[in-house]
Subunit: 342 residues, 4 copies
């Protein structure tokens, strides 16, 4: 299978970078949500290319057309489908991909998976462009969650290893991070970074031990974002360096509620929400598409060669990935929460 | 739901720490595997308490009884069920759990999830003991994979922040790590660590982009292990600190095969196996059960109080978690590989 | 959930009768099928309104637009999405539905299920129009199956209780059946019928005992067709009237192959294909939309009243349902067969 | 896959007729049900061999042992596992099965499916014995449903084509039916029959159009019972013989409730419960195991031959199938209802 997420809501994502359209079908979304289309557009705009520092100049309206599941501005309870037309192709740029796979990309892996019939143009179904329908689904999930007092906010944690310490611009970058990105772009290179995400308002008792915990769900959704290479919850890898007495979060009273005095566990214990904010951090690798010459193989000639990936690239995908992380978290959290709310 | 993993094989895990038995049912396991029961017992022994440095002295045979799905020593193709009886309880040790949740444990979260009827003794269904049936399923998966040339090996990467650098003992620890663990035990405390895992022999082309990639699957399985707080593939979080030109793995020829000259990507591109070894690293938090006094809440009296977790504890769970990581990886990889092999 | 079928391929159907578009997303369809678009159009035309005796004059192109998953005329292996625009509405015809549910329709049931936000126009998501995307998915499945020597053919068995005995026209009706339908239409009424379906070429050994047998799968798919009220495999309900010695099919040799001398079992034993043709029969109720006055309730006034369902109706849906039964069978059979073929 | 049912509860059934044990694992069963073990035993006794007219004298305690998921007499919310030991084998009786498949049985189909490693003794995993764990799961579901005002009752409709018209004995048979069965037994033969089932109290609005309707679910579960060859809802195949004006059920008022004046639709419209009783009828074929000589093939010698199935057989399985139909219906209905109740 491949492109369907969820047990209680089912988000099915389809499309290739240079096909007719990309989109999503969402099964099980509850009836009655009054969709705020302006808010959804604003959410999608955060992911759109060109909007943030370091992003590709490819311009796309990326305005979703809703085909079903919404009537009179409200979700109907039956499947929601939305599509975005692909219009601004320069497929010629990618003509060489078929023969010379780009390092760090899924070109060759897809060919091994699907054979010669697969559509590799622009990265095909593995393209970052497919995060647009993910954001449609996630944007709707965020609105549904917001009505239940659940909010999700991600932000850039570090770029190229440097934590964001200064004042943030609209892209969530400080001056040092912008400089890192510009230096990479000038060198025909790219940089990665980390994103921190916080989910507030999830009631205690969501998720299950073993395979259906919130960590399993969120991780499974977040690894659906191309370029994600790691995820950690709470203090994550740091927990592995601490004593139990340092790492455990004491329980305490906050009026009627039982809380934890600290939140190293990141809001999830035994796969189940504890009522504390859910926190996780994600590692985003540097964009593999770079202008610099790289070694690869011409598979048609079966000989090693050099490639300079042509076309328009993000020198840093991290700012655009921030809403995508929120979207992935939203569908994962909604999938867990929705069974308690219907 | 909760305790079922997989799309093509389905591993269903059941049981509570202090119930009658724990076990697993495995649906979709192909017919014809000649089970090596001695090898399986040896695999399970690596997880068993008492076998490794730092582990609890609780003694369990942990010998699985197979109830179905194996006849004349071979898998039949119909569901495999196996159970392990629980026999060595000291439930009295845990009598206080109901009223005073243990910091770092899922006691309170489970109560919020399931209400008063849940069985919290020994951690109930969220107990680390449930990794025993996970290892039964994983041990069978490892044997099935081995027959297809796929091997999985995990080992301790670091304990309490210190990489294993010296000679390893049978538990995979060096002298410094053993000292760390003993110091923690002596102090009534515990330590965590990291585990590195490598999967060799997966053919290229396994997995799919977006939600059904090998990273999604492996992460979803590995977070089924209690105490796991993070996972990274390839160079993981380090990738976020590199330039694209540093992080991309060049393609190269190795005779007839296209390989990558380096393996920072960890054998998975776009969710699909590249043919290179799959590598990932897992963070294990320190065991939350410690003898030291901790602050918690007596929920029956609704007042804060102190707890010293009684009973037998692992001062370090990491050595015992090594085969569990292998088991989780095995069922995740088998779930992806099996559709190509039937 | 609701509108997703399959374990190995996943057919997700979306849309409402009077929304912007209806369509399907198909996940897991193997790469490399050269799609015969003309054959697909011909298949869809068999279901189209106006094409057959007794059908509504509503005219629709019903030409699917493929958005993804097909490139250069071949399936790519990544999700296939296709849509059909809705264009020929007379929503006004259905204005009264909201207040006065039509007998035999799902109007009231949908309102109980989804609340006031649901889109009931034209039957909404429960409309027979949704069988068009089912036929897109089924039509592709039929082509994939045909390449593996598997064919599926349904035909009308009886109309209004009268078996088709005479020469069949293009709609599969004989003179008596046409007369039955015309008489019903003239009276502002409708008739139902039965459809027999045969699947040839399924290799022995497809399906599993208990819950994943071919009977379970086919039934689960076929009840996705509105108006289906029953299904029986092989001799079905007649088997319940026979002796075991009359009903059992003797095994016999046909050259190298083991066959059954008769095929009362309908090609499935223990949920598994036997290698004999799979046969089943489906009951289709008379179209509930009739011009005759019927008793219903005005739910806004909470009083009983009379309704004459306005708009265009099929006096007999059975001829149009024939390809839909083939489509449902095709996706069910492909779902079982595909794991052996990848 | 094969032996797992459900989306919201997941019933996994394992075991072979002559293996160590049969059983089930139930994931997602809500916490807090006080299990009435005596009622469950009484329910299982209705299925047990020897209890009803026409059944095999094989004696089994069939008392389930619960391994997990129930503590202090209540469901805990975590997976329920239960097993029944197999003790009363005469495997020798079935020694010939491997070479000479029994007509009407899944022996040969299973061999084609699983190869030589499958366990065919007593029918293996396809044996009717596997309905015992189905009844454990169904019996628990019935109790859970009963607490929500939902009751399920099946009864014999006809035996060997003769409707039950006279006074019923404890097996649900009248004098004519008993005579039919005894005549078949005396002749070394068997008879089938039909079972009618009614589900009362399901609130309106359960289920979804297209693939997740109650009809799809119930049919998918009921075809998990060996020997079921057909299912029809409401008036089923009879609907295909009526006019729309005869078949439609008028809506009417019953105090505050909207009901239907008749119930030909069988309580389900568009896959969704209407609030009326859900009614369906199931065809059960005559037991294929008969003493009479039958033609089959000796696959080891590749020649046709004769077989007289040795061992103990039910001359009529229908009385024992009645609670099994209730069990299958219960898990299907609970799977649809449970999302509204948690």
């Amino acid at each position: 299978m491949g492109s369907i997420f969820g047990k209680n809501i089912r988000v099915s994502i389809f499309g290739e970078s240079h096909g007719a359209a990309i989109g999503c079908a969402i099964d099980g979304f509850p009836a009655g949500l009054a969709v705020d289309f302006a808010a959804l557009a604003a959410f999608l705009a955060r992911r759109a290319p060109g909007a943030t520092a370091g992003s590709t100049p490819r311009r796309e309206a990326d305005a979703p057309e809703f085909l079903s599941g919404i009537a009179n501005g409200r979700t109907t309870g039956t499947p929601i489908a939305a599509i975005i037309r692909n219009s601004d192709h320069h497929s010629g740029d990618y003509a060489a991909i078929a023969a010379t796979p780009r390092p760090g990309h899924a070109d060759l892996a897809q060919r091994m998976r699907y054979g010669d019939s697969c559509d590799l143009r622009g990265g095909g179904h593995a393209s970052g462009r497919l995060t647009a329908p993910l954001c449609i689904a996630g944007g709707l999930a965020l609105q549904w969650l917001a009505q239940r007092g659940i909010s999700i906010a991600a932000r850039i944690d570090a770029i190229h290893g440097h934590p964001i310490a200064g004042e943030r611009d609209a892209s969530g970058l400080d001056a040092a991070a912008r400089a890192e990105i510009e230096a990479a772009r000038a060198a025909g290179d790219s940089v990665g970074g980390t994103i921190a995400c916080e989910v507030k308002g999830v009631p205690p008792g969501v998720g299950s031990p073993i395979f259906d915990g919130l960590e399993n769900r969120i991780a499974a959704a977040v690894f659906g974002i191309p370029a994600v290479k790691g995820i950690e919850f709470g203090n994550g890898f740091e927990a592995a360096t601490l004593l139990g007495s340092e790492n455990n979060d004491a329980f305490a009273l906050d009026g009627e509620k039982v809380v934890t005095a600290t939140n190293r566990h990141g809001g999830i214990l035994g796969g189940i929400s504890s009522g504390m904010p859910i926190t996780f951090r994600v590692a985003i690798k540097p964009t593999p598409s770079i202008a610099k010459a790289q070694r690869t193989v011409d598979v048609s000639k079966h000989e090693e060669c050099e490639i300079k990936v042509p076309g328009r690239h993000d020198a840093c995908i991290v700012p655009r990935a921030v809403p995508v992380v929120e979207a992935a978290a939203a569908i994962a959290v909604m999938d867990g929460v929705v069974v308690r709310c219907r």
